[in-house]
């Protein structure tokens, strides 16, 4: 009975899990201060892969919601395209997941970038409606002033203590 009620509470109780990406390959030029390192898809992916799903303890990467292949960066034109894939086509959390990705990118990226965030075509029943909401910066700005909503968003963006590597180089 307990399991049944959990099944009912979760929209997708048994999501397919995806392999985590290997650490980024480093090139000699990464360490050369005279070489300009343009933003690339991997760098944007690093920003959003650990965002947590509102329903599961897993990351958006593990759930296959965000993938490096679904990101394109045009550094010169200051444009970034990100699509995300809800785990099921009727996921009611799609807007919230999109908002979390949007907030993370707004907070992390240089302001020169225009970010086009949308649902991966054909993967959600309300794709068009959700995309319009995420694109409306006035609605996004108002959502970020809603204390309840921003709390949920911040929770999905926080890494747990164990996940923070205190030996990170600064």
């Amino acid at each position: 009975m307990v399991f049944a009620s959990i099944d009912q509470a979760l929209q997708n109780a048994t999501p397919t899990l995806f392999q985590k990406a290997k650490p980024r390959e480093q090139k000699a030029s990464d360490w050369d201060d005279d070489v300009r390192d343009p933003w690339d898809a991997r760098e944007v992916f690093e920003l959003i892969r650990e965002i947590r799903d509102p329903e599961h303890p897993m990351s958006l990467e593990e759930l296959g919601v965000v993938q490096e292949e679904l990101i394109t960066v045009n550094d010169e034109e200051n444009e970034i395209n990100v699509t995300f894939t809800p785990t099921i086509p009727h996921c009611s959390m799609a807007t919230l997941i999109g908002l979390s990705i949007s907030v993370k990118l707004i907070r992390s990226l240089p302001r020169r970038f225009k970010v086009n965030l949308a649902i991966t075509p054909g993967t959600h029943a309300q794709e068009h409606q959700v995309n319009r909401q995420l694109k409306d910066k006035e609605r996004v700005a108002a959502a970020l002033e809603n204390p309840n909503l921003i709390k949920v968003v911040n929770n999905s963006l926080i890494k747990t203590v164990e996940e923070i590597d205190l030996d990170d180089d600064f």
Binding site: R111, R112, K114, R132, D136, E138, R139, A141, A142, E145
Partner: protein
Amino acid sequence: METKLKIAQSKVMHKDRVWSVAWGLKDSILASTSGDCSLKLWDKNLNPVDSFAQDRTVRRVKFAPDGKQLAICSFNGKVLIYKLENGVFEEYAELEGHESEVKSISWSADSSLLATCGRDKSVWVWECWEDGDYECAGVITSHSADVKDICFHPYDCILVSVSYDMTVKLFKEYDGEWDCVQTLTGHTDTVWCAAWSPDGLKLATAGSDQCVRIWAMNNGKLELEANIQGIHERTIYSVDWGERGIVTGCADNKIRLLQQSEGGWISSDAVAVLSDVNSVAWSKNGDKIAAGTDDGDVVLIDLV
């Protein structure tokens, strides 16, 4: 001679995105509102005059045509009126009624009516009595989604509203009642802004479909006259129509001037800034344009 736009001055005025700019009487004062939750007043050289704090984003500011009042609306659901007393603007009244974010405001030509609109899909018309009282004269619930902007006609008792539902609506007043007399479709995405031509014969609307539509008044109804495409590459957040043409502000970081010629509408070379342009406003005498951007900048543009 083709008119060109040139940035005269650009200053960081706010700690967050500037949502709106407006000129006061005789262009001696400029107002800006922002995501930093403030209304700020500047002189014509962008020197600070005054600043007022709110608890949420202040979405828009509009001076009454009489120059003695200004109104702001906020994401906190409130509309505030400031009155000029002994040379300074002071908070005077608070109009409550909207359930959530108030997105735009417009004064009627004689400053006796104020219209507000917002996320709750409604448009409110307020009467401004001479004794200083404000009273709700009507609530119009005609749109099926957020009402993004509203605009009183320059002299007639006509109001237009534009919405997330992609429509433009025309309202007329009969015996104190505001009725929707026309719903205009054609925009293929959210309509963000509207502006009447100074002579009141035409209306410009624009939005996320990156087009500016020109509608002409004909026997009390609006008819599509032109659909100006290809001038911008992202959402057009703001239009203002002055004696010298239509100015547009867009999320492609550009400001353009559209002018009507014999062969149709032509666009000036764009003025480029570094972020989304959320608001553009002609000065009252039409010799300059103010703009507000996502970087928190207020930009003054000259015509050369």
